[in-house]
Amino acid sequence: MKKYLAKRVVYLSLTLVLSIYIAIIIANAGGMIDDILSAQIKYDITTNLARSPGWAQLPEEEKLRLIEERFTSAIHAKGLDKPFLERTFIYLWDALTLNLGRSLFITSASGTKQISVIILERLPRTVLLFTTGTIAYSIVGLVIGLRMARSPGSLFDRVTTFFAIVTQTIPPWFFGIIFILLFAYQLRLVPFGGMVSVPPPSDPFNYALDILFHMALPLFTWIFSIFGSWAYITRNLTMQSSEEDFVTVARAKGLSENLIMRRYVLRPSLPPIVTSVSLSLIASWQGAIITETVFGWPGLGRLYYQAISILDAPVIIGLTVVYAYLLVITIFILDLVYGFLDPRIRVEMG
């Protein structure tokens, strides 16, 4: 068991390092962002100097020398004078030690460029919407899935399966656009987007109500588009375990259908369900880039998109690192939990 866990830790750390390194390379577009950055610095310095009094009187070489001097010091200050490959390892070390540093452009509402502050400011909003939504659709899906499994082939089962097949391919943001069109523009039931009204209500109670009002449609969309496929997965998992011999034995013993469901059917199908729930919970913390964009929800997904669209590499890396860490830790915890939940795996581990 110890040996197995130690091996998993080594593998997972290796995976973490590798994926963060790849993220760093891609987030810097293989060094291309450096070129964009230094070109911009050079442009800024030149235009700044050109505006200073007496610049026009200076001789041409003097001008070039001044620009070059300021440029080198600015590049040095930003650490851009070292070769790209060398810097990627510095970035990697910073990322692994969660030293997320400062953003290039994006600032938090409080005005700081500290990436950890920016992320912590956005995280609660994403958790509020997507984690709530994920928990809700898991529960709804689980309940419906169990009902489907109880009477496979019934009208309820077939209708829900149809619904699941259709919705599983259509992403939430797509439903989002259609629902905004329907509920916000045509029926005028909910706001078009955003998280609070402009200007936001001042007293805390109304503020909370206002957020709930803005949250209603994205939350509904999120649940609506995912619970079907989730119910279908639950149905299949429970149906698989309800075909096992021990369930037939339990039935033969005359146990009540409820007890059979709880003790013999649900329990063996629990591990995969737990895995899916926890992985989608982690994924929900990352937010949904396009869904948040469509609904104008100012969470982490939107931050990701903002950072990408103005090529703020440190923020992109920061978000990826936090996500990778969360994912790897969750996978490790799942490994542990699996060991306790399923005796077959416990034996394998030993």
């Binding site: 290796l14 995976t15 994926s19 993220a23 905004i180 880039i289 998109y305 090529l311």
Partner: protein, 465 residues
């Protein structure tokens, strides 16, 4: 031999299950649309998709013609009075050395609503002096309005009668002679076609004056060889089978061409990634040892990478077209979930006797992999391809919504994003959003239905009892 059996199994599953049949029928329709697009809608129309002048004879953001069915109102289509439809009269007066050209045409207007815009195009050839043009509209009630009287500015003069300031002023003075209040904004296409009363400037209250309208264009040219022709356009409130967008483009062409683009994009991305991933999964299981170790670690790494942010990132930095996007998708999906499934399935296959038999008569490792193992993986690969296609179609749509799609090719996602940006939701231009949205959803569902049918072959435990 084994390969043909696998294919037989799959096709049988598709043809016997209801979901498989439904999916195949929808897919056949989408394929039919693609073929129709390729054969009947010439590609140079698509090439002109982003060229505004090509579409200027279409009305702006109007509903499809069948939209009138729901409101029980006879909305006008676009009426194009072509140069040949005009009655031409020309004569030259030697004394003043002036040439007079009179063009006259009759328009029957029996619709329940007003045109959306008016335009006149004057085609003229002249030697030195530019001709003087007068455009007059005579209404069924006998009233005459002079719309335009000026020297032509160029040989082909496109006169937007609805938005031109001078023409609005002309219509205003016409209304003044009728004693109508002209302090409001004047809409020529409304007032000129409204029953004469005080409401003829009110967009909500004005009623249509039905009957025959006579359009008369008088040209006075300075030389005998000068010529003049004209075209008169009454833009409608409905157009074609799918309406138009804010750039006057015929959405039907975009919708029809969206089908082959979506299929080609989704299928190529899905086929390449599924095959590569399952091949790597099979290699991982079959060769084992260090190869297995490396492939598994890399797969886990890949599965942690945030796929969508990276694609968005690369699209922004490199401004990709739709085919380069496929390359990026493939590069970021070399390893993935399918690698894991293929690996575990390969482990099952490896224990079967025919593999042992092949090994014992000395078949090479590679031969066994490609000829005995890969064919057995085929059902999984096919099921994966089918299930992955809609994901890629929606991925393209998502990038379009973020403004990162291919700017040249008309895709369904691009149309939805155009509609969204163009305020279709605010103004209630339902056809602009709903038609591409429905097409995308129906196509995605077709693949989902087929995938569902195939899934039962791949996972026999899912079969209903």
């Amino acid at each position: 031999m084994s390969l043909s059996r696998e294919i037989q199994d799959l096709s049988q599953a598709l043809l016997t299950s209801r979901s498989g049949k439904t999916g195949l029928i929808i897919l056949a329709i989408v394929l039919g649309i693609s073929l129709f697009a390729a054969i009947y809608v010439p590609f140079d129309v698509v090439a002109k998709w982003n060229e505004p002048t090509f579409w200027q004879k279409n009305p702006r953001t109007v509903a499809p013609e069948w939209g009138t069915f729901f409101i029980n109102k006879n909305l006008p289509p676009t009426l194009d009075v072509a140069p040949d439809d005009f009655n031409k009269n020309e004569y030259f007066v030697t004394a003043s050395s002036l040439k007079y050209v009179t063009l006259e045409a009759l328009i029957t207007y029996n619709y329940d609503d007003f045109p959306s815009e008016l335009a006149a195009i004057v085609y003229a050839t002249y030697a030195e002096q530019r001709p003087l043009v007068t455009i007059t509209l005579e209404r069924p009630d006998g009233l005459k309005a002079v719309l335009y009287r000026d020297i032509l500015r160029s040989p082909v003069n496109y006169l937007y009668l609805s938005s031109d300031r001078d023409i609005r002023d002309n219509v205003k003075s016409f209304l003044l002679t009728l004693g109508v209040d002209t302090t409001r904004t004047i809409y020529p296409e409304l007032s000129l076609f409204a029953v004469k009363n005080d409401d003829m400037v009110d967009t909500r209250k004005a009623s249509v004056l039905k009957g025959f309208y006579r359009i008369r264009i008088d040209v006075i040219a300075a030389a005998e060889a000068d010529t003049a022709d004209a075209e008169f356009l009454l833009y409608g409130q409905v157009y074609g089978l799918a309406g138009t967008d804010s750039n006057r483009r015929d959405l039907f062409i975009g919708l029809v061409w969206g089908a082959p683009v979506a299929l080609a994009f989704g299928l190529s991305a899905a086929i390449v990634t599924s095959i590569i991933q399952s091949l790597l999964g099979a290699i991982s299981a079959w060769y084992g040892g260090l190869v297995d170790e490396v492939i598994q670690r890399v797969t886990e790494t890949y599965m942690i990478l945030p796929f969508l942010p990276f694609i968005i990132m690369i699209s922004i930095v490199f401004r990709v077209d739709i085919w380069f996007l496929v390359v990026i998708i493939v590069a970021l999906s070399l390893f993935g979930g399918v690698t894991k499934t293929a690996r575990s399935v390969t482990f099952q296959i490896m224990n079967e006797q025919y593999i042992e038999a092949a090994e014992s008569y000395g078949a090479s490792r590679r031969r066994i992999l490609f000829l005995y193992i890969m064919p057995r993986l085929l059902p999984y690969i096919v099921a994966n391809i089918v299930l992955a296609v809609p994901a890629y179609v929606f991925l393209e749509a998502a990038l379009s919504v973020l403004g990162l799609g291919d700017p040249m090719v008309p895709t369904w996602g691009k149309m939805i994003s155009d509609a969204y940006v163009g305020g279709a939701a605010v103004h209630g231009f339902w056809w602009w959003i709903l038609l591409p949205a429905v097409l995308i959803m129906v196509t995605a569902s077709a693949f989902a239905f087929i995938g569902y049918a195939l899934d039962k072959v791949v996972n026999p435990r899912l079969r209903e009892r």
